[in-house]
Amino acid sequence: MSRSLFHRWPALVAAVFAFSFAPAHGAVRVLACEPEWGALAQELGGKLVDVAVATSALQDPHQIQAKPSLISRARNADLVACTGAELEIGWLPVLLQQSGNAKVQPGQPGNFAAADFVRKLDVPTQLDRAQGDIHAAGNPHIQTDPRNIALVADALATRLQQIDPANAAQYAQAHADFAKKWQAAIARWSAQAAPLRGTAVVSQHKAFVYLYDWLGMKEVAVLEPKPGVEPSAAHLQGVVATLKGAPAKMVLFAAYQDSRPSDWIAKNAGLAVVKVPFTVGGSDAAKDLFGLFDDTVARLLAGAGAKP
């Protein structure tokens, strides 16, 4: 038995090859690493795309595992749309390696990194892990500024046209419609959020720099002593002391985070707590990209008005 197996292994290899050429499918299969890019691909692709999302709004996108279900999705994807800027560095490389899918490897049209198309903030001048979980390319949480979404939409629409040239005109049309609606929405949100300009805020994780950049809010303290390091009691005490000198209105945390550090600081420094949906699905109202920013702005305004 064992002897015959040694002699038969070339046949086994050949059999594996023979089965691997499977029939092609219809819609463009998109695997989005985060819900915001899944929602954007859906806006731009409509019925032409079949979108799967690797993570939910309740998961920390830094800490995902290359689990079997994701490997099989990456294997069958025509396009993998992720944030990039090293946000998914702990799992995406191994996912792509194990997928056996040439189309989605780095450098291929099927590999899309949204952060490549926006200007990054918080780009570290010095790369040392003593600074915590920093990203060489800059802060990867670009989706909290709707103007970034617009830039990524331009690039993603182009990419979809490249991958599915037969339907290029439809992607272009969908993009034109989306861009028009999105621009009007940005104008509306910016007007609504005008009272937030100059508001001093505290963040649990350095996840909102793009949001602050857009709305002109001022981050006076961060609850994590270093990016990705859990807030310690001593550090929180220090933040309370800092806030005595530079008072803030509210503390922000993302839907996937543990609310306890924010709750603690809110109680001890007299701040309003704002749970930011952070991505599509992060709150009941954040059903799509428009809902995401409707809800984010509404929650920030409520936070600013809630307490003096």
Partner: protein
């Protein structure tokens, strides 16, 4: 002689003299500083401007190149969205920013690991009851006291658009250097296929393909120590295939020279090792995921030197020639609330190994030299659970068993008597992970796999990784 104290006095008095026009000086200084700052600001702004235009030019070139064919087919996307006032509309070409010969350097990582071990029995006399193994087999708790465990240097990069390469060079505490892994792997075959060539850990089972620094306990399970030489790595080829279905299924075939136990290096043209692997997996809701599989390893050995220990602790040299087939069934289930493993998570994993050895054996080489046929079926298993009960802290329990089976020595039955009793071992561990790059672990084990009573083993271990951010498999 007199000039020295005079100068000294003058030096002392000078600041006093300067005191008079202090205010004027400060104002002048401030003015100078302002001018300097303004000059710097202007230069910085100019530099920033230049950087931005350079980046835009760099990024525009490939973008234009890739989208050129589409530009004619589709109406150009309308620029309704004006870019953020501070943002450059074009991608920032981070990869191009480095420049120079270093920018193509592979990702480099280094694993630093050290151990303190305290055992109630002498580890030098350690033997797995009933399992004849090579003299250098990595079994038991290692050395007592402080020791370095493994220093592992990892290098990985794309070779070209079609291949990637990776190597893991391990330096053992005795200063010997070992090529743990060194392989090239395709990235461009497509159709779910991936081909690996070189030296690599076999894809059999669950733990085997993983590097030891990602294991949840200090040591590998007894079943791995007894039947796979700790961890099975070989030189050869590996082909894996994911069928084009939504369900995760991965099939693998490996051929190799059969370099290490249960195989043995020898002079032959054909493969000394063949392995087949099949795994399936998926999610159950948002909080659960699983993977399970069956693997088979066939390895040939010729004149494989073994050390057998009888119930009295006497050691005999043996030589085995024949084939070994190892079957492995493995399963893992992971839980994290809503799939968010940051705060709490739990994983339960187990493997069952069964090894069948068939061939010829020479017992007590150099002594009685009893030659006989040899046939034995051995087995072992472990089950372990790891619970992260709060961020950074995990606790784990592993329980395992070994069955050396009853060997059939053919005509010589009765002349060779090795113990056939089953063994058990239980391990409890607690680890603290200050960050995802560092870990400190305490482990307590009660090992009843050796003759001479249970061995109580204490370990304190650190494992740190520096350099490139590793991405770990499921």
């Amino acid at each position: 002689m007199r000039s020295i104290p005079a100068a000294f006095v003058a030096a002392l008095l000078l600041p006093m003299a300067a005191h008079a026009d202090d205010a004027a000086d400060v104002a002048a200084l401030r003015k100078d500083m302002e001018a300097l700052r303004a000059a710097y600001d202007a230069r910085l702004q100019a530099l920033e401007q230049r950087l931005k235009s350079a980046e835009a030019a760099l990024a525009a070139a490939p973008a234009a190149a890739t989208s050129a064919p589409q530009a004619t087919a589709a109406a150009p996307p309308p620029a309704v969205a004006p870019p953020p006032p501070t943002a450059a509309a074009a991608p920032t070409a981070t990869a191009a920013a480095g420049g120079g010969a270093n920018s193509f350097n592979p990702a480099v990582s280094l694993i630093l690991s050290g151990l303190y071990a305290h055992t109630s029995h002498d580890p030098a006399q350690y033997a797995l009851r009933g399992f004849p193994l090579p003299a250098d087999a990595p079994i038991g708790p290692g050395t007592r006291g402080f020791s370095l465990t493994e220093t592992e240097l990892g290098l990985a990069a794309s070779i070209d658009p079609w291949l990637r390469g990776a190597a893991a060079i391990s330096v053992a505490p005795d200063n010997s250097v070992e090529v743990e892994e060194a392989f090239v792997q395709t990235t461009s075959l497509g159709n779910g296929l991936s081909l690996k060539a070189g030296r690599f850990f076999s894809g059999i089972g669950y733990l085997n393909p993983q590097h030891s620094h990602t294991w949840d306990f200090v040591d590998s399970p007894l079943a791995y120590q007894a039947m796979l030489g700790g961890q099975y790595g070989d030189d050869g080829l590996q082909l894996t295939w994911l069928p084009p279905i939504d369900q995760y299924v991965e099939l693998g075939v490996e051929v190799g020279r059969g370099r290490t136990f249960p195989g043995s290096d020898s002079n032959r043209n054909g493969p000394g090792m063949v392995a087949l692997t099949a795994h399936a997996g998926g999610d159950i809701g948002a909080s659960h995921s699983w993977r399970a599989g069956v693997s088979m390893l066939d390895a040939k050995a010729s004149d494989q030197g073994l050390v057998a220990t009888d119930a009295a602790g006497n050691r005999f040299a043996q030589s085995f020639s024949g084939s070994t087939r190892v079957w492995i069934a493995d399963a893992i289930w992971k839980w994290a609330p809503n799939g968010n493993a940051t705060r709490t998570n739990f994983k339960l994993q187990g493997e069952y190994l069964q090894s069948t050895r068939n061939g010829d054996l020479i017992h007590d080489v150099g002594g009685a030299n009893l030659a006989s046929t040899y046939s034995v079926r051995q087995s072992g298993w472990y089950v372990q659970g790891i619970y992260q009960f709060m961020p950074r802290w995990r606790v784990g329990l592993r329980t395992e068993g070994l069955d050396p089976g009853t060997p059939d020595y053919g005509a010589n039955s009765g002349l060779i008597a090795l113990p056939t009793d089953r063994s058990r071992k239980d391990s409890l561990m607690l680890d603290f992970n200050p960050s995802e790059f560092s870990r400190v672990r305490v482990q307590l084990a009660r090992d009843r796999a050796r003759e001479g009573g249970a061995d109580t083993q204490w370990f304190v271990q650190y494992q740190m990784s520096l350099g490139a951010h590793g991405a770990h498999s499921y």
